[in-house]
């Protein structure tokens, strides 16, 4: 009997060491796993999904006539106006888009009555696709920051890209404000002047005017911080300055430069 108890105690110490070793092994396994496959936080990444802001950018970039143009094709029964109507935008666009027009032109000779409605639909679809292609192309060229050389008219192009950049920044800020929004008074309003460095960093943040809602001011500051992490470089690699008026539902950009 008496010889049993010391043996039991050594068994306990051995299994204690084994237990500690097991725990250390499991913990280090977890640590290793965490280092090998760090958890990916997707909250920030969703800001890149630009599907919502693409149509917003589009009318501002091309011409205000684009919106009516989109509305015009359906009411017109004659095929000729829609054919000529979508053509002007491609002319203003880079050469790549003209490729998409080619499949349209072979269809022209076949003008049977049964074919008519089908062609109308096709043309409309093509113009839609072309418009989207054009927008994507513009965005791509903007990212490459060679839009001035591609667009030809340097003066107008600069102004356009400036307002488009403002729209882009505005939509980023709107997205961020949706996350951070909080206010205590009705219809608070904060006007902010932002200065963005050529690298895309925010140089200066100046609150020019505020309705006095501290919570909303804080929300605006946080929204700018949040959105500011993802700003692209301003067009032409210059310091960009613009005023934004923040309201809980919308942001309007003030006069640029």
């Amino acid at each position: 009997m008496s010889s049993r108890i010391p043996r039991a105690d050594t068994g306990v110490s051995v299994s204690f060491i084994a237990s500690v070793v097991i725990h250390l092994a499991v913990l280090s396994l977890f640590a290793w796993y965490g280092r090998m496959f760090p958890p990916q936080i997707a909250i920030q990444e969703t800001y890149y999904v630009d599907v919502v802001s693409l149509p917003v950018n589009e009318p501002a970039s091309g011409s205000p006539a684009q919106l009516p143009a989109a509305a015009v094709p359906p009411p017109l029964p004659v095929p000729e106006p829609p054919m000529t109507e979508p053509l002007p935008p491609p002319r203003a666009l880079p050469k790549k888009i003209t490729k998409t027009i080619k499949p349209v032109s072979p269809q022209k000779p076949e003008t049977t009555d049964s074919y008519f409605a089908e062609r109308m639909a096709k043309i409309e679809r093509n113009t839609e696709a072309r418009r989207e292609e054009a927008v994507l192309e513009k965005l791509r060229s903007k990212v490459k920051t060679v839009d001035k050389s591609k667009r030809g008219a340097s003066e107008a192009g600069g102004a356009l890209s400036g307002s488009r950049y403002a729209d882009y920044i505005k939509s980023r800020l709107e997205d961020a404000l949706k996350v951070t929004s909080s206010y205590t008074t009705n219809n608070p309003e904060v006007a902010v002047r932002l200065t963005i460095a050529p690298t895309g960093r925010i140089l200066r943040l100046q609150i020019e005017r505020s309705s006095g809602d501290a919570a909303f001011e804080l929300a605006v500051r946080r929204a700018i911080d949040l959105a500011g992490e993802k700003f692209p470089a301003p067009p032409g690699h210059t310091v960009y300055e613009n005023g934004f008026v923040f309201r809980p539902k919308s942001i309007s950009s003030g006069a640029s430069h």
Binding site: S3, R4, S15, F16, S19, H23, S182, A219
Partner: protein, 223 residues
């Protein structure tokens, strides 16, 4: 790992406590596993040996081979008591019948005592497993509640209830519940397992002591 490093001091303490609970309960699990396994194996072998042998003193000389079995403890106790009774019997050559019956009673008592002490030895430390199983989820829950409280304080300070503000604090807090469950689940499973195994061993001890008493009584009555 970062999530633990960034947690508050109370949550860290809770995690540390739960970790030590887990370490200790695994110590007990491993120890008990070896102990019960050995007891089962050696009891089986001892029973084989016991039924093959003709004489108690032959068994008594070999009994050290099965020292991990609780049955050998019973046998030793019963055999020692029996030896004493027989020695007393041979000294006093008076009314033999009454002392014989008293001798069987003595052996029975000593067997019961040995059974009780063996049950105590087998069940030693098992209560800690039960305690870990029942309390560590609550300890983890306490850590979680505390973590969420501090997270809400943070929300109050920043004035924003966005997911980016709320989520990390709650994730930190929930770690405590997770660790509590991780500590509790094996403890409860092992507790139930060992309870069952030990009940089997207790049954074996009971049946062995009745067998032993039967043999003793048969031999004394046949004398």
């Amino acid at each position: 790992m970062d999530i633990i490093a960034s947690a508050g001091i109370v949550v860290k303490l809770v995690l540390l406590l739960l970790l030590s609970f887990s370490v200790i309960s695994w110590t007990i699990i491993l120890f008990k596993f070896v102990q019960v396994q050995r007891a089962n194996n050696e009891s089986e072998r001892f029973m084989d040996f016991f039924w093959k042998s003709k004489r108690f003193d032959a068994i008594a000389s070999q009994v050290d081979r099965f020292s991990h079995s609780p049955l050998t403890v019973l046998f030793n106790e019963g055999y020692n008591e029996l030896k004493k009774v027989v020695e007393n019997d041979s000294k006093s050559d008076g009314s033999s019948l009454s002392t014989d019956l008293g001798g069987v009673e003595n052996v029975s008592r000593s067997l019961r005592r040995a059974t009780n002490s063996e049950i105590t030895r087998l069940e030693k430390y098992l209560t800690f497993l039960a305690t870990t199983g029942s309390t560590s989820p609550f300890i983890g829950l306490f850590g979680t509640v505390w973590g969420i409280m501090t997270a809400f304080e943070g929300i109050g300070k920043t004035g924003s209830a966005s997911l980016a503000v709320v989520a990390p604090g709650i994730a930190e807090a929930l770690i405590a519940t997770a660790i509590g469950l991780v500590a509790a689940i094996p403890a409860v499973m092992a507790y139930n397992h060992f309870q069952h195994k030990i009940r089997v061993l207790i049954n074996e001890m009971d049946s062995f002591s009745t067998e032993f008493l039967n043999i003793v009584q048969r031999n004394i009555a046949g004398k």
